[in-house]
Amino acid sequence: MEENVFIIHPSEIIRKGLAWILQEYFKMEITQLSAISDVNSFAAISNNLIITIIQKGASLPAETEERLRKNNQLFVVSLSASTDKEGLVEGYDYDLNVLASNLEIQKLIQVIRKSASKSKPIMADNGDLTQREKDVIRQIALGLSNKEMADKLNISIHTVISHRKNITEKLNIKSISGLTVYAIMNNLLDISDINPEELI
């Protein structure tokens, strides 16, 4: 999961200072915005961990926040001024004070990362292909339809389809011609078995 950090604050001193600390300690890529509405242009991000640090009392534009929350793990951190001691208030996930030490800032990021990784979906295993999957690739490369493959390999069409899905996920190759090239490159087939000019 990629991490996006936004620091949204009208004060350049605060933006740059906080960005410097986070970059130094966490090697994070940080987007600094001076106006809250600028965040609207980032509303299409999905499947990321997003940390937004905004001035306490301010909030993200409702529509954008909703969209970001739906498609990502979003954490909104309020940044309060030094004299403010009230701590976390409604509408934010965490509170940060401008007087916070480096250590406190580090801790906060670790807490956020931990809570994000807890709900992270488990990745499919990237193992090698099974013998059956290799059989299926060979038939795909030879140009057989799902039905023909099912008959030839003595399995149901449903099983063929599920093999194809697993193959694409494991190899990250989606096109039929790409799978044909894969089969040749990995010696599942000989180049003389197919006509390279007729790649689908």
């Binding site: 987007t31 190899l171 490159m185």
Partner: protein, 236 residues
């Protein structure tokens, strides 16, 4: 990551991201910026600075996508830009990739089925992409231009979504091509040739991705909105 603003110097843009050079060339803007700002140069070249920034920032930060701003520009402006991009692909980017692939093929042994397959796979990809571009240049774009000029839907006219569905996804095979090379190519090729080829593929993929994003999320959206507006008129 920094979002560029009108007051920034044009030179800072290229210093921050040299991949933007071909993008700004498409607006007729070339090197030799002196101390001029983005605003200055846009004015000189009669380019709409807000449109310029929306495009440039979209390319700079892949998470940035100024939907609201971009939707406020005329689709005709957008079409000009997209057509220039197509010409850049056809006239420069693809021939360059091909030259690099020819280098690889010329410097590897005769009996190398893997690369032979890669080469025919590339041809396949190219044919598909050229068809896609042609479909847009010759059918989709003229339809949009006419629609904005006449503000009328002809009876039986295909909608923009129907046009879109007619052409294929151009990213799938390109991503396959990259993966095949990265994961399965066997030794026997010239490293430098191969690296250049792969780098060119990466850059092309990125450019194409942003291009498609602008088409899908802005152009198609805008045209669909106009089509919906015009529909009741047609019934009357």
């Amino acid at each position: 990551m920094k979002i560029f603003k009108k007051e920034d110097k044009m030179s800072s843009l290229v210093s921050a991201n040299s991949n933007l050079l071909p993008v700004i060339n498409r607006f007729g803007i070339q090197l030799g910026f002196k101390e001029k700002t983005i605003q200055d140069i846009c004015k000189e070249k009669e380019v709409n600075p807000d449109f310029f920034l929306a495009i440039v920032n979209t390319y700079t930060d892949e998470n940035y996508f100024p939907e609201e701003e971009l939707l406020s520009f005329s689709p005709l402006l957008l079409i000009d830009y997209l057509k220039n991009t197509h010409n850049y692909y056809i006239g420069y980017a693809l021939p360059k990739i091909e030259r690099l692939l020819e280098n690889i093929m010329a410097n590897c042994g005769e009996n190398y089925p893997s690369l032979k397959m890669i080469s025919s796979f590339y041809q396949k990809y190219k044919t598909e992409l050229l068809l896609h571009l042609k479909h847009e240049d010759e059918k989709e774009f003229p339809y949009i231009v006419e629609l904005y000029k006449t503000r009328k839907l002809r009876p039986g006219q295909k909608s923009i979504t129907e046009y879109e569905n007619e052409h294929t996804d151009v990213e799938e095979k390109l991503s396959d091509l990259k993966n095949l090379l990265i994961k399965y190519v066997e030794p026997g090729y010239n490293h430098n040739d191969m690296n250049e080829f792969l780098q060119a593929l990466f850059q092309f993929e990125k450019d194409l991705y942003d291009h498609a994003r602008i088409e899908d999320a802005i152009l198609i959206k805008q045209v669909s909105m106009l089509e919906n507006e015009l529909k009741p008129n047609e019934v009357r």
